[in-house]
């Protein structure tokens, strides 16, 4: 695990930053350290219901933690993570934000469909701590409630949490090959999450699981999805652990899955940690060294000091310009955010319009009073899917924009210190992957807003609609009574008239609802973008400030350097060389942190 080594390195660099009086760099290292302190690697376990998700988690950690039932079992997402002592924490988010600890044995009362039907208690999630080796390195297994079709509202919510996960396991049992919704889900997951794999469960029960696995591989290949497949049997694994039967454990297929979690998921997160820490430390070291290198250059060649100073003055001007509003990256950012805002709004409107049309079609085809319940659910699901797709897309575009800005910043930043960059690789742009974490926070904030919007607006409007329609339902018996008096023809006309009115009222209600959604979600998107903009601006401005500070102190160092006394000069050169040597050692350690041979796509 990288964390101890990386942590040590960051601490060392922090001490150096304080020693060289560069609090600005210390702040940056502080962020790095903070990021390292949260080692959690989230693995989302998703799938349609009754595929054996909870049992898979139980078999992975060898403890009957997640409730398993023949009927619906899991009602609340359950995160299983490492703890010295077994513990259960319930987490509420939103209005009644709180956490509370409960005895381990009581977990089923809160997370199972039997104990907490339809999550009546409004839990956001449950966290289960267990002393298990597999979890020790920060692995967090998140068992999600099964969803009725991945396209439903639950499915959309799951989709929105994907970008915050380090890996996704799609669970599907060996009774049948992948269905179209499952393949769609995998394709989307591939775009949002670095590590996606399929787990085929219950291989003990289905003799044809090899055929099914092959068929699934075929489907994946046909869809252009590159995900590993792991056929496993949770029953055999649990039995194997109970009877300590190594052969049975092999048959259960869990070895490959555990290896995947360790070597791909954990190692990748680890790799990412090492890489970004290394880059941060290198960038900091480079800037700390710049001052000393400037002074050293001046000390070594006093006759060229004046030229060096004037070079550095120009660099100072460039660094100041980088901070300016007129800098190219600033333009890229503000233009990009504007474009993005327009695009996202348009995308949302477009998606909702399509839903509106479909809804009109449905309402035309049937009596709203008959289909209202199902229709409401359908509408809610469609809107949820559309808004979450919009959010996910917005997140992706925002990330792309960040990369773009980073590139432009790096292009200009590289030009700032040409004289002092002594052939080192350009670490000014080393911040690109630093953005990954803020990106996650942004999305989770957006997602919260979105979930809030869905619950609040969806609920309110649905109820509003239901009562409007209840008004009509009361008219029905009256019309039946009237019909008995006036004969069948009048009844039919009256009924047709009422039906038409019900339909037009229902359509108006739908349009109103969609309007509200557009308004609320549009605001959320804009808020998210503003936050992105602010975050990126602050981030790059502080980088520009760091650069400026570096150049400033370089200029000062170069100016004061020129001393007449040869001995003093020699001593100073020795000092500087020693300091630079220390920094070089720091850089070396930073480079050593990244496993050299491995290339990981970031």
């Amino acid at each position: 695990m990288a964390v101890p080594a990386a942590m040590e390195l960051v601490d060392l660099a922090l001490r150096a930053a304080h020693a060289y009086e560069r609090p600005d760099l210390a702040v940056r290292l502080g962020h790095t350290r903070h990021r390292l302190e949260d080692p959690n690697v989230r693995v989302l376990i998703v799938g349609e219901f009754k595929q054996g998700k909870s049992q898979l988690v139980n078999a992975l950690i060898n403890a009957p933690v997640c409730p398993v039932d023949d009927d619906l079992a899991t009602a609340v997402p359950t995160a299983v993570l490492y703890a010295e002592q077994p513990s259960v924490t319930l987490v509420w988010e939103g209005e009644q934000r709180r956490r509370s600890d409960v005895p381990v044995a009581k977990l089923a009362d809160y997370v199972s469909e039997a104990g907490n039907p339809g999550n009546r208690q409004g839990l956001s999630r449950a966290e289960v701590g267990l002393p298990r080796n597999l979890l020790k390195d920060g692995l967090v297994l998140v068992d999600t409630p099964g969803v009725g079709g991945l396209g439903s509202a639950h499915g959309a919510a799951t989709m929105a949490t994907l970008p915050t996960a380090d890996a996704v396991l799609l669970v599907s049992d060996a009774s049948q090959e992948y269905t179209a919704p499952e393949l769609d889900f995998l394709a989307t997951a591939m775009r949002l999450c670095p590590n996606v794999a399929g787990v085929i469960t219950k291989t003990d029960l289905y003799p044809h699981w090899r055929r099914i696995t092959d068929l699934d591989r075929g489907h994946l290949a046909a869809a252009g999805i590159t995900a590993d497949l792991f056929p496993v049997s949770s029953v055999l694994r649990l039995e194997a652990v109970r009877s300590e039967d190594a052969e049975l454990n092999t048959e259960s297929g869990f070895a490959a899955l555990v290896t995947f979690l360790r070597s791909e998921v954990l190692a990748r997160a680890d790799d990412l940690d090492r890489r970004s820490t290394s880059q941060d430390v290198l960038a900091v070291a480079d800037q700390m060294g710049a001052t000393m290198r400037a002074e050293l250059a001046a000390q070594q060649n006093p006759q060229h000091a004046a030229a060096l100073v004037s070079d550095l003055e120009i660099a100072r001007g460039r660094a100041a310009a980088l901070k300016d509003r007129s800098a190219r990256w600033q333009h890229t950012l503000s233009d990009g955010v504007q474009d993005l805002s327009a695009d996202i709004e348009h995308d949302l409107r477009d998606r909702l319009r399509v839903i509106g049309r479909e809804a009109d079609g449905l309402l035309d085809a049937a009596d709203p009073a008959d289909i209202w319940d199902q229709f409401g659910e359908w509408l809610e699901g469609q809107v949820a899917t559309a808004t979450s797709a919009n959010f996910v897309w917005a997140g992706q575009r925002a990330e792309w924009l960040a990369t773009q800005v980073a590139e432009h910043f790096a292009a200009e930043g590289d030009a700032v210190l040409p004289a002092l960059r002594t052939g080192r690789t350009g670490e000014v742009g080393g911040h690109v992957d630093r953005l990954e974490r803020p990106e996650q926070e942004r999305l989770s904030i957006g997602q919260k807003l979105y979930v809030g919007a869905r619950g609040g607006y969806g609920g309110m409007l649905m109820i509003g609609l239901a009562t409007t329609l209840a008004g009509f339902a009361m008219l029905n018996p009256l019309s039946i009574g009237a019909g008995l008096l006036f004969g069948a023809k009048t009844v039919r006309e009256e009924q047709a008239r009422q039906l038409a009115r019900r339909k037009s009222d229902a359509k108006t209600a739908v349009r109103k609802h969609l309007d509200e959604v557009t308004f609320q979600v549009g605001k959320d998107s804009r808020d998210m973008l503003r936050q992105v903009q602010r975050q990126l601006r602050d981030h790059f401005t502080s980088l520009a400030e760091e650069l400026q500070t570096s150049v400033d102190s370089s200029v000062k160092a170069a100016q004061k350097a020129v001393s007449g006394d040869e001995n003093v000069r020699r001593a100073r050169i020795r000092d500087l060389e020693a300091e630079l040597d220390r920094i070089a050692k720091l850089e070396e350690r930073a480079r050593a942190l990244v496993p050299g041979a491995r290339k990981v796509l970031v």
Binding site: K50, P181, I480
Partner: protein
């Protein structure tokens, strides 16, 4: 109840044929429906991919005729009907019907489309001499939400055609668990036309029920519990008549059990527990070659293929408990599979309502013609359709049943259950409607009817009842009166 409904519908159909004699298209369409009236009831088996549709069809027929496979298998709508000799007819979308060669492998029919791509085939019609197909023709459909979008489109178009009444009179909807897409599909059976009785012709089946309890011996009990929960589910109640749990594979293999298989199961059951227990741990272990295990791996593989791990486990347990002849074991397996229950439901829900379902299909077809090709004569015909629909008490009952189930008409819970039962929700026989034992004697029936009648008359006249309740009570009074009149004196 009133035998008049069928006669009246036939009459109006014949009148329509007469009135439309100038339009060959309409005449052909109407004649077809007139002929359909005398054909066996058409029951379609629908559901998502791999829900076990073909397996259930085989179980109902009692022979392995529909091909089944671990992968997605049925790609063309296939009709199975009784016939004097085995015959397969392919009906392409365009072009004349073409007979296909009948070939069987291990009892199952292998159908070779002869190079015609599946999307060009409208349907296959299989004639098969079988007692089970005499009263009802069965229609096997491709899975919905199938991987190949076109396959599921074919199923959708067949079951819920956009431009014509569905060719099936009734639908068995198979689901492994209740998914949103299942609900959506069931909803599409809602029709706008004549009887407005959506759930009347649909029975939902919790298929592959043995797998719900992951093959444990008590799996069926827990599947039945889940089916019971679904039955009580308000939403599902408004979409189908009832929900039954069936283990299709067990039913199919139970009905077609061979002597050799019984012998093999007995060998396993009587062998040392230490030798058989490891085998039963997983499907892989069951077919693995081993020196100590009874039977050779090929026999075991064949057994597993036919019965599934659950069937094998159950079979062995039953033999150990003392069942010692193939007939008894077969009967017990079929009983445990839930097939008997399904058959009872089919009888009460479909066969007993045959005339009603047929009339409904025919009136839907006639309404379509009247709307599509209006001629002067269609006005009196439409009036006649209206008269039958409004006048036939069967349709009134159906409408009310639907209204109760979809909660359009609200009644107190206990009264509602009684109303649904009286309207024929649990079956159409007088005993079933009155909630009595089928063997109840006329005196008991009479007493029960009179009690129900009194209750509903009071409700119809109570000043506390609102309009819809009065309407409901009046319909039920008439139902009770009908029951009373039909009782032998």
């Amino acid at each position: 109840m009133t035998p008049g409904l069928g006669i009246a519908v036939r009459g109006v159909l014949r009148d329509a044929v007469d009135a439309y004699r100038d339009s060959p298209q309409a005449t052909a369409w109407l004649r077809q429906h007139l002929a359909r009236f005398d054909e066996p009831l058409r029951v379609a088996i629908a559901g998502k991919v791999k829900a076990g549709k073909s397996t259930l069809l085989n179980a109902l027929v009692g022979e392995e005729i529909a091909p089944t496979d671990a992968g997605e298998c049925t790609r063309v709508v296939t009709w199975y009907q009784d016939g004097p000799s085995p015959k397969v007819l392919m009906i392409p979308r365009d072009g004349p019907p073409r007979p296909l060669t009948v070939r069987r492998r291990d009892g199952a029919l292998t159908i070779d489309l002869g190079g015609t791509p599946a999307e060009r085939v409208d349907r296959l019609v299989v004639d098969w001499p079988s007692q089970s197909l005499r009263a009802t023709s069965l229609i096997d459909t491709p899975g919905i939400a199938s991987m190949s979008a076109d396959t599921s489109a074919r199923a959708g178009a067949f079951l819920v055609p956009e431009d014509a009444p569905a060719p099936a009179d009734a639908v068995l909807y198979l689901m492994r668990h209740l998914h949103v897409s299942d609900v959506r599909f069931l909803e599409s059976f809602h029709d706008q036309g004549v009887a407005k009785a959506a759930p009347v012709n649909t029975v939902a089946i919790l298929s592959r029920a043995d797998e719900i309890g992951v093959g444990r011996l008590d799996a069926m009990a827990s599947a039945r519990q889940i089916a019971g929960r679904y039955r009580r589910d308000e939403k599902l109640r408004s979409l189908c008549q009832t929900v039954v749990a069936v283990a299709g594979l067990l039913a199919q293999s139970g009905r077609t059990m061979r002597q050799a298989e019984f012998t093999a199961l007995s060998t396993l059951a009587t062998a040392q527990a230490a030798d058989t227990e490891p085998l039963l741990l997983s499907a892989d272990r069951f077919v693995r070659a081993s020196e100590t295990a009874p039977l050779d791996p090929e026999t075991r593989a064949a057994l597993l293929d036919r019965y599934g791990l659950f069937g094998v486990r159950l079979g062995i347990t039953l033999i150990r408990r003392g069942i010692d002849d193939p007939g008894a074991l077969s009967a017990e397996l079929v009983k445990r599979s839930g097939l008997d229950e399904l058959r009872t439901v089919l009888t009460t829900q479909f066969t007993e309502r045959r005339d009603l379902l047929k009339s409904r299909s025919a009136l839907l077809a006639l309404e379509l013609v009247l709307a599509r090709e209006p001629i002067p004569a269609s006005v009196p015909l439409a009036r006649e359709v209206e008269r039958i629909t409004a006048g036939a008490h069967e349709f009134t009952e159906l409408r009310l049943l639907t209204a109760l189930r979809t909660r359009v008409v609200k009644l107190p819970q206990d009264v509602k259950a009684e109303a649904e039962r009286l309207l024929g929700g649990d079956g159409g026989t007088p005993a079933a409607r009155l909630g009595l034992d089928p063997s109840a004697d006329p005196a008991e029936l009479r007493a029960a009817v009179l009690e129900a009648l009194g209750g509903w008359q009071r409700r119809a006249e109570s000043p506390l009842s609102d309009r819809s309740q009065v309407g409901t009570a009046r319909t039920l009074v008439r139902t009770c009166e009908g029951l009373l009149a039909a009782l032998p004196r």
